[in-house]
């Protein structure tokens, strides 16, 4: 299961955080800094998209200046979550129309809504791009 999701920029500013396990505020703070240190220092070209993190694993992918990181269990299927990240980014991209970092900042509340239609309780809920986008369109038309 996904323990948490972090989207951070290269400077380590967290643009999206979603916690599916219980962590105190203090732990969250520490984890954010640690994830940034672990992921940002890795070579994008010659290193894999997976890295050991405490007793879990981080699966991450960089899109422009943003690192999308999923922290998962060691027995989870890494590639499935790596493509989960890609699907998430594709959905964000279509939803916002060529998404950029600022969209995540100014529309943070919408990003949470998008996430809730795709991933719930740390598990992937829906994997069809068109189903997700259709639902999101429906929701944004509500008052």
């Amino acid at each position: 299961m996904i323990r948490f999701i972090l989207v951070q920029n290269r400077q380590g500013k967290t643009r999206l955080e979603k916690w599916y396990s219980q962590y105190s505020n203090q732990e969250r703070h520490k984890l954010k800094a640690e994830v940034h240190r672990t992921v940002a220092s890795r070579d994008q070209k010659h290193q894999s998209n997976f890295v050991e993190f405490h007793n879990h694993r981080i699966v991450y992918r960089r899109y422009a200046g943003l690192f999308f990181c999923f922290c998962i269990d060691t027995n989870d299927n890494e590639l499935a979550y790596l493509e989960g990240i890609h699907l998430f980014v594709e959905v964000l991209d279509s939803y916002h129309g060529n998404v950029c970092e600022l969209d995540l900042v100014f529309n943070f509340y919408l990003v949470y809504a998008v996430l809730d239609e795709m991933i719930l309780a740390g598990e992937i809920q829906e994997t069809s791009r068109s189903v997700i986008l259709g639902r999101l369109d429906q929701l944004s038309s509500l008052e």
């Binding site: 299961m1 955080e17 703070h29 890795r42 070579d43 010659h46 290193q47 894999s48 998209n49 997976f50 890295v51 050991e52 007793n55 879990h56 269990d73 060691t74 027995n75 989870d76 299927n77 890494e78 590639l79 499935a80 790596l82 493509e83 989960g84 890609h86 699907l87 900042v105 100014f106 529309n107 943070f108 509340y109 919408l110 949470y112 809504a113 809730d116 719930l120 309780a121 740390g122 598990e123 992937i124 809920q125 829906e126 994997t127 069809s128 791009r129 068109s130 189903v131 639902r135 929701l139 944004s140 509500l142 008052e143």
Partner: protein
Amino acid sequence: MAPMKGLTVFIADLRKCRSHEDEEKRVNKELANIRTKFKEPSLNGYNRKKYVCKLVYMALLGYEVSFGHREAVDLVNSTKYSEKQIGYLAISLLMEEDADYGRMVVAAMRRDIHDTNEFNVSLALNAVSNICTREIAEVLTQDIVAQLLSPVASMFIKKKAALCLLRLLRRFPEAVNAQQWAARVIPYLGHRDIGVTLSVASLVTALAQQFPEDTRKAASFAVRRLKSLVIDNEYAAEYIYYKVPAPWLQIKLLRLLQYFPAPESPELRSLLLSILRHIIDVSQDTPRELQQMNAQYSILFEAINLGIQLDIDQGLMQECAVLLGRFITSREINVRYLGLETMAHLAAYIDSLDTIKTYQGVIIQSLRDRDVSVRRRALDLLYSMCDVSSAKTIVSELLRHMVVADFTLREEMALKVAILTEKYATEYSWYVDVMMRLVSLAGDHMGDEVWHRIVQVILGNEELQLYACKIALQTLKAPVCHESALKVSAYVLGEFGHLIANAPDCAPVDQLKALQSKMASGSQSARAVALTTVGKFINLFPEIKTLCLRVLDRYRGALDAELQQRACEYYALATLESEDLMPTVFEEMPPFPERRSALMSRLLKREADTEDQRTWVFGGREINRERKLQKAGKTVEDSEEPPVAAVPQLLEVPEQTRFVADGGQTPEELARVAKSKRHYARLLWENDGILYDGDEIQVGLVAQYKPPAGRVGVFLGNKSTAPIYDISIHVACEESSEKQLVVQQATGQGPLPDSLMPLGQARVFFDVKCIDVFATAPTLRIAYTMAGAPTVSELQMPVTIAHFIDPVTITVADFFSRWKQLGDAAIGEAQNVLKTPFLSTDSGAIQWLRNVVGGAGFALIQGADAEPDNIVGVGIATTENAGRFGCLIRVEPKPAHGLTRVTIRATNPTVAKVVAANINMVFESK
């Protein structure tokens, strides 16, 4: 939802701030503003939403937001979707679990879940999965189950309901009553909507681990669903991801099947094999596009994992080995990484390692990969594939690599080298050489377990000792000697230095000099070990006593208290007039009892932290096979012969406590049984009390334990109005426990009186001794004649292995590390959820629980559990011949449900079972 202009302006303002102080100022200004706005009675919904949204933003930036919860709840209660949405978002991000408005939130959720507007239901379910408190689990589970099973709920609601249940089940397994609805969820694995199936598959995977019996049908559903996806190509077009049909669902189903044994029906079996074969065939050519390749490989790796787990076709496995061999040389780093990981899984199960061994060179090469993640997987694989024939090569490669390995990897590497060397050593010299090199190379990066283990092994193997001494002395004489190497060498020479004392250059004085030369530079703990060795030398080699005393003397003034104490004590011991004490104190250490190596527990501890259980572990072949056997064995035992297991027998004990002469189950008889059960239960946690109270006689017990021994006094009172004659009192052990428990009449007491007058009392003492762990309590047989009629009564005697438990006090941190260790090691665990209705009615109930746990021989660890009412305790059972067994207990009372969960973890399964059964009985008869 229309954008909120005020919010956008505010965020832009904050982004413009140059310094943190500026930002803080702006935030404080806004907080003050919002506070005033919230006081206005005319605040409309839009503004409320906007301000709450600003608060959420500030909280996400890390500022403390201590108000606005009421407004968030107001928003949740709004009829407008966008307001409700922000309300739930704010609550899921801002609410503390124990917030006082939690009840209002739950009420709102409940209303929304029952709403006819499906968008509101969706929002409420999202919130349930995000917030997930105990109260939600208790109040809403049934409603959510109803939504999942409802024929009218939309696909979106079903998906969300399934995952909400999963979250609640994982977090509060005891509050969701999953067994009640588990079986009804399974047919949804065949639902035509892929999203619903995917979510339900996640839920069923968790259920399958908890209720394998109730979810057995899930396997055939999963196989058929896979067939329709993989072979029949039946799926909706929108679920194709880069030409791959529903990869996530395929993976989920392949994973789910790994929690079940291979299907028994030949039809399903061959179907499953053809699915696996199909997946492997499709993956023969590598697609160009990255996404397609990843999706395809993610399925393939999961299919291989399933193939390994099913273990039904060795041909297929060999083919997988070849395929994986291709992957580990792939140019794609991710594929290399996963290839190595999956091959480690394969190596843990496959019958013949030959195919894998052909890649040994490549794998060793991967230890030098540019990516530390890949290097780690290579290490795991080398460890998994190691056997007697390849051990030397692999160990020497690992040692060679140790010097250049990352610091983060060295500890694990050291552990693995130590385990492999011990396991596959065929020559003693090899073991000693490797271990000495290991501690010299990696001493800084490993825990004390490694050097402790080396000493244990050397102590336990006589053949090793001479060689070990030689190497130890050599190590000490070398120009540099690592701290851990110093400890091992010092310990070994202290024990066995005399074995080499006659060899050239190994005379006692040489040994002492070598030790002394390295002592000065050693750390405090190493010097402490060395000092003890000096003490042992005095005993071993009286000829160098003066030299040794000089060394000790120098440390008598050491600043470090530990060193000073050792030096002073050994010095005093050696200069005592009587020379008898010295040889006793420094007698050769006995070999350590055989037990599981601490190294393995440490290794396994790392990976236990997963939500779904691992289907295999990086522990090597034996341990995985063991796990598999255990799993298989467990189901056999459960299904075929439950009545003969040790626990139920113990539970039924009180029913056997009856007069042999008595027959039927009259009401009086039943009452008496219940009463005697109560008596028995009480003696499980109190030393003195009544064991039997009948019409004619009364039997009392007084016990005193000093594990492994104890003394039990039996008092027989005549309650009737006539005298009783021909009294005999005996204790008989069950045949199965005869060798484990010895009960003898204590010597030096007078014989029983010939007769016992009314109100008279006779007593007899028994010495009990626990030789080994035993499962069944002994029987107390009391025979007498009254009014010419001989009567025999047999009573179960409250003497169980649990009575040989002594309290041990340890720190909170120690408790949890041991608790976890024992849990991981899975040697002996027993868990029961017991009905304890008295919790809510009796205010002293918690104290009573404490008394019971304390009375049962456990030291209560205060403040260990976050929940103040929970009780944790530590005890140790002592047997004469089998050693000591640690036992941890955790009692979690839930007054609201009238239930209490009791978990016992012990280093011996029988101990855990017996303690659990005892506690069970005590609670039942409260």
